[in-house]
Subunit: 192 residues, 2 copies
DNA sequence: TGAATAGTACGTACTAGTTAGTCCTAATTA
DNA sequence: TAATTAGGACTAACTAGTACGTACTATTCA
């Protein structure tokens, strides 16, 4: 692994757990066991590292989570949504619900004061929502989901509920709000 | 207004807009035009101020927002829920959706690293959810809402959706996710 | 040769919290 | 009534530590 990759990996973990502002360059270089000059050789500032970390994690999340579940054409739309929720629930269970959503956390911390972060997060949320919408549309066509739901409006609700449920599960330190809530939403979608 | 009240007012605004960690005692005393020693005369630490601010805002939110709408027995349950959403939407419109939910922000920032904050926020969310649940129960009894909804499960969904929608509205800098989403949820509840 | 690395010392700004003491009012006491 | 005492509200100046970023020299390695 190159030093640059090390920085990105260590920084992601620290930013995810402690937030962007609370993560210091000094701590990153200490954990990554590299020199400060090497850090500034690879990144011109702390902000540019933060953006690089975010871009990388968005790319990986889209490829490894969203596309693998919501866009998996080996599954029916209902199973796609279920496998997506299962993956999310599994992740937060493994973390004991402690750290929340990596993207929601950054959105909460930085949206109001850093335009670059906000723009990227907004574009990512929109991309995510569109893929939920597509899954809903296909599910309605295949009559797995009730046609009384407007796919666009309900994809917004699903995404908002997911972010909120992860936040509340983190606050309660219990998976229930996320796990039961997502099951109830699927039940609702199926109901005629 | 006493200096103590000034500190609480100034600190609330700064913490709400910039987060707890990004709000410095130095900046608080400068904006409140008081000395640092006076600050430490009234509060034994920055944390104890933060807790005092949170307790105060929870108390006011319960009395002035939640009880005035969700528990307002001059309104039918449906109107209670509508007036609650209207109040929330109005608040975020006035702030151009910039700052998010005062409680959600703190939950996101502090739940994982400060037990005192987390405990208070969890208790508050639970109290809030219970009042939504009560409103749903009454609405189902009065046949304003469909009886196919489990009040407890759906109150969890409503609260989670609200927090998530506020966060996404902040990220988009658009009221749509919050405003359209809440209208859609009400429509859903009414549907037979 | 030139990209990548280490080390270290800085500079400037900011951080939470402490110290030792002043000012003023109100109650107590001789 | 006049002196004394107690204590709440307040202040300026300070400490010790952390932050991001820069400067500069000196290696390592492809």
């Amino acid at each position: 692994m190159t030093n640059k990759e090390k920085i990105l990996r260590v920084a992601y973990k620290m930013i995810y757990r402690n937030g962007y502002e609370q993560t210091s360059v000094d701590e990153i270089i200490s954990k990554a066991k590299i020199s400060k000059s090497n850090f500034y050789y690879h990144f011109k500032s702390k902000e540019s590292l933060g953006i690089a970390v975010l871009d990388l994690r968005i790319e990986r999340y889209v490829n490894e989570v969203i596309n693998e579940t919501l866009m998996n054409n080996k599954l029916t739309p209902l199973r796609r949504l279920e496998s997506f929720y299962n993956k999310v629930v599994k992740f937060h269970k493994e973390n004991e619900c402690k750290y929340g959503c990596p993207f929601g956390n950054l959105a909460s911390e930085l949206s109001s004061k850093n335009h670059k972060f906000r723009k990227r997060l907004a574009a990512f949320f929109e991309q995510w929502r569109e893929k939920i919408e597509l899954c809903l549309k296909h599910g309605i066509e295949k009559k797995e989901f009730s046609d009384k739901f407007n796919p666009k409006l309900f994809s917004e609700i699903i995404l908002a509920h997911l972010e909120g449920a992860i936040l509340i599960s983190k606050t309660y330190k219990q998976i229930n709000p996320l796990e039961k809530g997502s099951k109830e939403i699927i039940k609702l979608l199926k109901a005629a």
